[in-house]
């Protein structure tokens, strides 16, 4: 009996626990009910001759599933996943790398805040998509301009959350640390940083959602037919142009899944790095 079998055991136990978990069951049940209603809504016309508004016009799950099983075999579909994922993660990552230090600097230094907060606040209400034309001019390739717009989508949310989180760190923690002999650097590293961590992850989760919204729209606007393109947004757009409605829905659900996977990833990292937040 080695380590592997033990791990298998715990994995099996976990799977068992998951299946018997009521929340998990409710989740599965709700999705099944949703799909059934959708299917019935679509079939209503052929069964009873009555067209159900909205749902009646959307291809049923069974049709979408059939289409999906064909699409999965196409390399182009997976290329779309790869391209969108790449754009989202790169834009998101750069937004984190620049946004977190920027937000922290504004939180701890009033001169820095005085300098950079006003322009930041003026730029913030501009929707990322309004940047599309300008960024196409700014950046040499379409790829870069899509990534830039994606970056903007996450950046503002990240900065605002980090700034708010860092400034909301309880002064009592700072004072307690100070009276135990902490230097300025200690305060930053041992109090401000861990104290801001929850807000960093909230910013990341919200930012990730916005990134997916933005990347899709950017791909639709600028992706098609140019030097670069593709991505799930373009996949939907070209399916629509080609009149393949069930493929449009395949694209939509793919985005939903992609977004779910990315935010689960962030939640998981947050869960791992903040042990004090998972209790009982």
């Amino acid at each position: 009996m080695g380590k592997a079998s033990k791990r298998q055991e715990t994995l099996g136990a976990r799977a068992k626990a998951l299946v018997s978990d009521l929340t998990f069951r409710r989740g599965v049940l709700s999705i099944l009910i949703f799909l059934t209603l959708w299917e019935i809504g679509f079939r209503f016309n052929e069964w009873f001759g009555v067209m159900v508004p909205f749902v009646g016009k959307v291809d049923a799950p069974s049709i979408v599933a059939t289409r999906w099983s064909d699409v999965v075999l196409l390399p182009g579909y997976w290329e779309s996943w790869y391209l969108s994922m790449g754009r989202v993660f790169l834009g998101f990552l750069i937004a984190q790398i620049i946004g977190i230090p920027f937000g922290l600097a504004m939180a701890v230094n009033k001169y820095f805040r005085g300098m950079f907060f006003p322009p930041f606040e003026i730029l913030r209400p501009i929707p990322p998509l309004a940047w599309v034309p300008a960024s196409i001019i700014f950046w040499p390739t379409t790829e870069l301009s899509i990534m830039f717009v994606t970056f903007l989508g996450a950046f503002y949310t990240i900065v605002i959350n980090v700034l708010g989180g860092a400034r909301a760190v309880d002064i009592q923690y700072l004072r307690a640390a100070q009276s135990m002999g902490a230097t300025q650097w200690d305060l930053f590293r041992k109090i401000i940083l861990p104290g801001t961590l929850p807000s960093i992850f909230i910013g990341a989760a919200v930012g990730m959602g916005i990134t997916w919204e933005v990347v899709l729209a950017a791909e639709m606007i600028s992706g098609g037919g140019q030097q670069s393109g593709g991505g799930l947004g373009f996949f939907i757009w070209s399916s629509y142009m080609g009149g393949v409605m069930d493929q449009v829905i395949v694209g939509m659900i793919s985005i939903g899944l992609a977004g779910y996977i990315s935010s689960s990833l962030i939640r998981y990292i947050g869960y791992r790095s903040m042990p004090w937040r998972r209790m009982f």
Binding site: D170, Q172, Y173, R175, A176, A177, Q178, S179, M180, G181, A182, D186, K190, I191, P194, G195, L197, M274, P275, W276, M279, F280
Partner: protein, 278 residues
């Protein structure tokens, strides 16, 4: 240092807050002695500036005029020698009990690593949190959090331990248990304590001397020596001696509290404000 009787001396300290054109005096000519190895309790009407006194003693704020001496030397800023145990709790939520307790010594590096573990474990055991050594603060009950906080303060061996309403927000039962626990702790080891509270009974049963502050701007109204025998217990509160202390202090506090309602008018206003006090 020679055997000076006073651990801390507060000489004619004043402190005001606000901009120049509307400065508000919070503390005016406050003089106070904190005796070595005694527990000095400070009480005062709500809003009189008790927290400012704490911040001044701890070095978080500097007096506008006057002087605060610790062991003969002026207090220049926060340090481990005037350690504060805060209202509610200031345990870092991201550190376990053990990590919280070792936070200070690790920062300063003044206890060698191998001794630190031993020292921390023994202090954690003293406050009865041995089984909760590796739990996070939110996993502890209110009373346990206060005890963890005490442990975190004790390990730093401060010259003066300043307690700023440390048992506030606890339910009555837990509060009593904490008072008894703290009483034992003070009686077992010689330590200089400043205990700021708004609960008069708590102050009387714990203190060697009771400082009653006046209404804002705060100054010392009277210092009452509490001569209840040691070791003490909570039952002593019902003794006639304790009752006399309480009656006397209550009278002063009531008088001071009324001053802040001067000009407010009717007694209903007073009652309303009084019932809204924290």
């Amino acid at each position: 240092m020679a055997d000076a009787p006073d651990m801390m001396q507060v000489n004619n300290v004043s402190k005001a807050f606000g901009e120049d054109w509307e400065r508000e005096m919070v503390i005016e000519n406050l003089s106070l002695k904190i005796r070595r190895n005694q527990l000095t309790a400070i009480v005062g009407p709500s809003g009189c500036g008790k927290s400012t006194v704490v911040n001044l003693l701890a070095g978080f704020e500097k007096p506008d005029s006057g002087q605060i001496l610790l062991d003969g030397r002026p207090v220049t800023g926060p340090s481990k020698d005037t350690l504060v145990v805060f209202q509610e709790t200031a345990l870092m939520p991201w550190l376990t009990t053990y990590q919280n307790v070792t936070f200070g010594p690790k920062l300063r590096g003044d206890i060698p690593r191998d001794q630190l573990k031993e020292a921390a474990d023994s202090i954690i055991e003293t406050v009865g949190l041995k089984e909760f050594r590796d739990k996070y603060p939110l996993q502890l009950s209110g009373g346990m959090q206060r005890r963890a906080e005490l442990a975190r303060a004790l390990i730093n061996q401060p010259l003066v331990m300043i307690m700023d309403e440390p048992f506030r927000g606890l339910d009555a039962m837990t509060r009593q248990l904490m008072q008894e626990f703290y009483m034992r702790l003070c009686e077992q080891e010689a330590r200089t304590n400043v205990f700021v509270t708004s609960e008069l009974e708590e102050a009387i049963i714990l203190a060697d001397s009771l400082v009653v502050l006046s209404n804002r701007p705060a100054t010392v109204r009277e210092v009452v020596q509490i001569d209840l025998p040691r070791p003490r217990n909570l039952e002593m509160l019902s003794s006639s001696q304790a009752y006399e202390y309480k009656r006397h202090a209550m009278e002063m506090l009531h008088e001071e509290a009324l001053k802040s309602f001067k000009g407010v008018g009717s007694s209903s206003d007073f009652l309303e404000s009084y019932s809204r006090r924290p």
